[in-house]
Amino acid sequence: MKRRNFLKLSASACAALAALDLSNKGFFKAASAKASNGKNALPGSLGSKDVPSVCEMCFWRCPIVGKVKDGRLVKIEGNPKSPANGPRVCARGNSGVQLLYDPDRIKYPLKRTGQRGEGKWARISWDEALDEVAHNLHKAKNKYGPHALAYFDHGASAEFMRDIFKTLGTENYTNEPAFFQCVGPAALAYLKTYGYITTGTRQYVDMKNAKAMLLIGTHIGENIHVSHVREFIQGLNNGAKLVVVDPRFSVAAAKADIHLPIRPGTDTALLLAWINFIITEGLYDKEFVERNCSGFDELKKSVKKYTLNWASPICDLPVEDMKRAILLIAKNRPHVSIHPGRHSTWYGKGDTSRHQALAILAALFGAVGVKGGLYFPTPVKKGNLAFGCVKEEPETPDESISEDYYPFASTFGSPTSRIIEATRTGKPYPIRLWGINGVNIIQTIPNPYHTMEAIKKLDFIFCEEILPTETALWSDIVLPGATYLERYDTVYTFDLLTPYLTVRQPVVKPMFEARSSFWIARELAKRAGLKCFNYNDEVEFIEEELKGAGLTLKSLNEKGGLVAYKANPYRDPKKLKVATEDGKIGLAIGDFEDEDLDPIPRFIPTPAPPKGYVRLVYGRSPVHTFSRTMNNKWLHNEIPENCLWLNDKVAQKAGIKDGEEVVLENQDGYRSWPIKVKVTAGIRPDTAYMAHGFGSRSKALTKAYKQGASDQFMITEYEDDPFMGASSHRTNFIRIVKAGQAINLPELCPPPKEIPRFVAKKNRTGGK
């Protein structure tokens, strides 16, 4: 630059610059030789370095391979070594790249500078963030006692921090939403019936080898877990018959031999009538029941009143259709998949009983430990991991919000509904600090208005987050968590029909100042003065775990990052012994009776919609997970918003057209954001449906914000399951609002006298 007069600096400017140290420092270093190898010139993922790992776009956790070029993840494929998914991943698995490189990510530790919920932050250092969290943990504990701390978490990586809360002595950790908003009732029912959690994170049901399958409210194909969906399809390809019970013509219903569009809330009535029918007609497996089950006589007596004729008006199903469906299943026993379900927090009262009835049905058909039926896990050996957390002697509260309310909750923590109520009211004791990890509680727990009200009463709230969700906006400190593509977790074993061992390991370095959950928990424990996490880093404990499997991280990676094992899922029915107290499958559960709960399921009606309203149910979008993926650009491009399924006859009478944009109003007067209506004959007239997770209220999620409506913000009424305290999600009702005017919907399927009508609480005024 010879003509340097293009910029004339004043003498004072020169002096001001000279006063600063602006020499070349900080941003650059000499490049390493490998930076310019020729591989980068190859198109796409050709020439990539392949790193085996484990997906977490959903919690089925398929083995994957991350393809990395020049420090950048360019593609994700299934791990070809995996006997479960092979080289396949679903749409979400593919789109992990877009989570990793989403510019909206939380990049640094943040401290709230505005009001809670406003999302105004300033970046702070990790030291400041962790010190502040540690200080507040002690402050709240010292002032109010250990139970003033509560922790909401989801996912394997959130378990590290859960250990801190347990070590501090609180009863308030929640396994939420995995347990109290999803699988809890089903997991408990199966645990007590069969002695193992037949359905929880995983479902041990052999659809691939089934001759007939029964799905009740389970919409496989919309909820994509790759190997599970594949087994379902393989079963159908092999000629399995399919019965689907669902008020909606779901993807699974479209493949069914018999679809029973049941009145919502009456599934247990149908199941009890079927149980009575197969006992009365002698269609059950007498030999299997006599040899392997306890409580048959009590069951037989208890279900006698539940006939198909009784169930017909309750379920709004013809007797002949119900009979045809159960005969189809009975004809194919014992090789029948009575699917145990997964998300089971529907109606509160009766949720555990409904899944207990499903478990009983499978047992009556002898569909346990045989091809096509429920099967047993194949444990995969690995080393035991002990983080060495030294826990104080737990101080029992005078009134526990877990076991004093729900006898079977405490194994899994405290129910979210109780934590929120105690935080709002200070009763039975105050809760003043929340930690949140891996879950957007405002889009997950019923009545988000109560959740936000509770947050306002806290002394302190912090979260570990990847994206600026509503929960992050409400937090005082936000810790930037590494995505699953940037971190190690514990060794992962899969104990279903295709057992294997693999490990999640970082595909690329963490972006910005994101840190792994283990690192965050370990640093926090140190600052809180807790004796916890006696491993320096993740690799140390992974090596310890792998030692138990005769492996090292190096040897595992040399094998492609995954080792497969032979499955042992079936048992000889003549030698069957399950892990219950008496070794028998429990058709009547003494533990329930001991707590004054029903030992055998009975039908408890769930209230019918108030006049002018229909029941709101929800499900999954096949390319999205909960409310976690709506900001993912590829997935957003596929399905950007949800729509409301409304029965065609109802829509016609109410003057609502297909594709029309409307607002929903629930029974408490809360209104949704706009949502388009899908007018269809594929849903009952007393029911409306939408996919869960849309309608984000965080503007910082620039792609997800205000796309569709949130079902969660319509769920203001809930009841708790009396066994274990999970909150109901299908006990709310909506009508339509057009041009600001609420429209009552016509009632085309009035409920029978056995089902009472819902009565709204008088003090609820919602958005009015």
């Binding site: 630059m1 602006l22 990793l100 490189y101 989403d102 500078t113 910082a700």
Partner: protein, 184 residues
């Protein structure tokens, strides 16, 4: 003007667009910004902001903002049309750095972070790498900086960052024209 003040101004901008700390919010730093703005003929009425005020403003503008009205300081978001981090823009920037055997040493920010790119321009000025400087400006930095600048203007940011963006825009365009004039 010699090379050094020019590269110093570029580094002043690079530091200015970095997260506020003791050094880049000092009175001396702010004085230098004002003096250079005057020399560039950019009118301003910015009083010395304090560090906490700038930290909040920086976070909301360049890191995470609750209303979604923010301006990511990464070329990848603007180049290639995908709106993602670590995409085409980052690859372009990285390949320019590699031509002179450099690799950024950031604390986790991608290589196409604005302060890094401005620091790279300073390096090219220092080393008189006119051909590469022209290509870097024409084929990369001036392809996206104007988009970033427009986005900032539309947001109506803290006046200090608007001033830095106006100054950087003026400066880059002047250098670009100067290099064109010298090489044609």
């Amino acid at each position: 003007m010699n090379r050094q003040p020019l590269s110093h101004i570029l580094r002043l901008m690079a530091r200015g667009f970095s997260y506020p700390d003791k050094e880049n919010t000092s009175k001396a730093f702010f004085l230098a910004v004002r003096q250079v703005a005057d020399s560039l003929g950019i009118a301003h009425d910015v009083s010395a902001p304090d560090q906490d005020e700038l930290k909040e403003a920086y976070t909301l503008l360049f890191i995470n903002e609750p209303s979604g009205r923010w301006a990511p300081p990464f070329s990848s978001v603007y180049i290639g049309g995908h709106g993602l981090l670590m995409a085409e823009g980052r690859e372009q920037a990285k390949s320019f750095y590699e031509e002179v055997g450099l690799s950024p040493a950031t604390s986790g920010e991608p290589e196409d972070y604005l302060p890094v790119e401005l620091d790279f321009v300073a390096h090219l000025v220092d080393t008189e790498s006119k051909g590469l400087l022209l290509r870097f400006l024409k084929e990369h930095l001036l392809k996206w900086f104007p988009c970033f600048h427009r986005r900032l203007k539309a947001i109506g940011p803290h006046p200090y960052y608007m001033l830095l963006a106006d100054m950087t825009s003026r400066l880059l365009n002047l250098i670009h024209q100067e290099v064109i004039d010298e090489t044609t």
